[in-house]
């Protein structure tokens, strides 16, 4: 294949990754924005979403479409509930102290990951996509009668990949409207702006925190469900996902979902292109160093408000 079609393939991969990343990173950003804590277990919620999708698909009959639809509903709800429970049982009791929360969520990370290893096992398992038609894409090239449309072998996109992108866009639009137009969104924004004042005005901050933590985890789980037909479910898949969401949130700056979304597209696209053309390990080194240097030289990226 020539360079052009190759690049288009890389861009498609990048767009799918951007969509998944945007969902995950929005969850992480929301939790940091409202609760001012970094959730290191966020990648494990993503992994739990994928693993739950496998269990649901294995447990429901009636074909891959129904099983997948069920997973799309069940996994985010189940994982979100679990996260809200963890919030009440652990984070609330340490009063959301930033450093102790990181230590506690590292603990949560190991518990979720290792519990998955004990139940789901060390193997990677696939989930069948609900639909997966290949759509060949045209390219402009030299044909027998001069320049015209050609159909290079291998240049194609599947309907499922298009669905992932569309689903992410729909969910993110809903999330934005939910935060902007509903009462729950209003309470969240009020808590984000000033926790003390929100409390003084009778906003149930404790419940807002549990809801936010659950919602953040639910978004990660949804991303996990969407990803599992493309890459198999595995108990260690949360690590890389966490790293990428970290990068996205830190590059995008906190507070606005818009920044996170723009960063998700940027990171997803460059990751798609880099992993097609370069060594993935080298790309990861560049990414980790990028996060470190952004934090060192632009600390307002993560801290958002004044340091506490």
């Amino acid at each position: 294949m020539q360079f052009g079609p190759h690049l288009v393939l890389a861009l498609i991969e990048g767009a799918v990754l951007s969509a998944v990343l945007a969902l995950m990173a929005s969850g992480l950003s929301l939790v940091f924005g409202v609760m001012r804590v970094v959730n290191v277990a966020h990648g494990e919620f993503f992994m739990l979403g994928a693993v739950t999708a496998w269990f649901v698909a294995a447990g429901t009959g009636g074909g891959p479409a129904i099983a997948f639809a069920a997973a799309l509903v069940v996994a985010p709800l189940a994982v979100g509930t679990l996260a809200a429970l963890a919030d009440g049982l652990v984070l609330k009791r340490i009063a959301y102290d930033p450093e102790r929360t990181i230590v506690a969520t590292i603990g949560l990370l190991y518990i979720l990951q290792q519990a998955t290893l004990m139940t789901f096992g060390p193997a990677a398992r696939p989930v069948e996509p609900p639909f997966n038609r290949r759509i060949a894409l045209p390219w402009i090239g030299q044909t027998d009668e001069g320049w015209g449309l050609i159909w290079p072998w291998g240049l194609s996109v599947t309907t499922y990949k298009l669905f992932v992108i569309a689903a992410a866009v729909v969910v993110l639009v809903l999330l934005r409207r939910g935060l902007g137009r509903t009462r729950a969104g209003l309470l969240m924004r009020a808590t984000q702006i000033d926790r003390e004042t929100a409390l003084a005005f009778g906003i149930p901050v404790g419940r807002v925190y549990a809801l936010t933590f659950g919602l953040g985890a639910g978004l990660a789980a949804l991303a996990g469900v969407l990803v599992v037909p493309l890459q198999q479910a595995h108990y260690l898949m949360g690590g890389d996902a966490l790293l990428l969401s970290f990068i996205t949130v830190i590059i995008g700056g906190l507070g606005s979902l818009g920044g996170t979304l723009a960063a998700a597209v940027l990171i997803g696209m460059s990751e798609g292109i880099i992993s097609v053309f370069f060594s993935p390990t080298l790309a990861k080194i560049a990414a980790t160093l990028l996060v470190a240097f952004v934090l060192v030289f632009r600390p307002q990226g993560l801290s958002g408000g004044p340091p506490r």
Partner: protein, 313 residues
């Protein structure tokens, strides 16, 4: 008896007890305890930064690995002797500590944790990329013939135990001096209230940098000793897990206490050793321990003891 004398006596008694165990313990536990003492050196290095200076790093595996590879690579590829290789390992650890410190200390709190985590991850990936020399995840062994120092054979269990003990004792003694020295007091002052320490006229940034370099060097000594005594260097020792473990050991034993890291390492080592026989998911225990400690025992075991014995350093 004065408080100082009591503290000296207590730590001397601990060291004497550990020394005596060499002639009491069966080989299996002697090997385990030698490993615990080496890992406790790593934990003590971590504790200097976390427990005494109040800086929570999530990237100490970088320094442990710097020591391990700083010793193993020159021995393996250049045929360097054990003693100069150990010196190279300490230098590698100090250099990494200086580089990370200069950059990461520009941040505080949560950002500091993430920056250190990212540097350690970059180091881990760099070890994988340099697979031609490091053999990546698989790692390489240091032949028994090279693990000799001053006519002593470090592969022999008794000698290995005594070597681990000697390093442990030396580091404990150095840190004992340091934390009672005025410089150590300044570190604690920074932990308690950096603003106030600065107002008192201390150059807190320089002190934090010094603490980072010392902590990295001690961690590297642990890594180098691990490679020398157990004859293996592998990338898994540079992975995230090895950054989390010293945090866990120090939290469990008691942050900001001298013997806390050893107590925590000993306890967790045997707990995980036992759990690994039962299930492959033994890190589950580490996760549970982290959460339970944050919730119920943030001061750790020795912190609890110190609540009774106020003179413990």
């Amino acid at each position: 008896m004065s408080r100082g004398a009591k503290a000296v006596l207590l730590h001397a008694a601990l060291l004497a007890g550990l020394l005596a165990l060499n002639w009491v313990l069966p080989d299996y536990h002697r090997g385990n305890l030698a490993r615990v003492m080496v890992l406790a050196v790593y934990a003590m290095g971590y504790n200097l930064l976390f427990g005494y200076t109040g800086l929570l790093s999530l990237g100490h595996a970088l320094f442990f690995a710097a020591g391990m590879y700083g010793l193993a690579l020159p021995m393996h590829h250049l045929g360097l002797g054990l003693v100069p290789a150990f010196g190279a390992a300490l230098l590698a650890g100090a250099a990494c500590g200086l580089a990370v410190g200069l950059l990461a200390l520009r941040t505080t709190g949560v950002a500091f944790m993430i920056v250190t985590l990212m540097f350690a991850q970059a180091g881990y990936l760099a070890i994988l990329i340099a697979g031609a020399w490091t053999r990546g995840d698989e790692g390489f062994t240091i032949p028994a013939a090279a693990r000799q120092v001053l006519g002593l054979d470090l592969t022999e269990p008794g000698v290995r135990y005594l070597a681990a003990w000697a390093l442990f004792a030396a580091v404990l003694a150095i840190l004992f001096r340091l934390v009672r020295h005025p410089a150590g007091r300044v570190l604690v002052a920074i932990r308690e209230n950096e603003e106030r320490a600065r107002l008192l006229g201390y150059d807190t940034h320089a002190m934090k940098l010094l603490a980072t370099v010392l902590s990295a060097t001690v961690a590297a000594a642990g890594g180098a000793a691990h490679a020398a005594l157990f004859g293996y260097a592998g990338a898994s020792f540079a992975a995230v897990q090895y950054s989390i473990l010293p945090l866990l050991w120090v939290l469990l034993g008691g942050a900001g206490t001298l013997v806390g890291p050893f107590v925590g390492t000993l306890f967790m080592f045997y707990l995980i050793d036992w759990a690994a026989d039962v299930t492959p998911a033994y890190m589950l225990l580490a996760g549970l321990a982290l959460i339970l400690l944050t919730l119920f025992l943030p001061q750790g075991i020795m912190g609890l003891v110190r609540g009774r014995l106020r003179w413990l350093p």
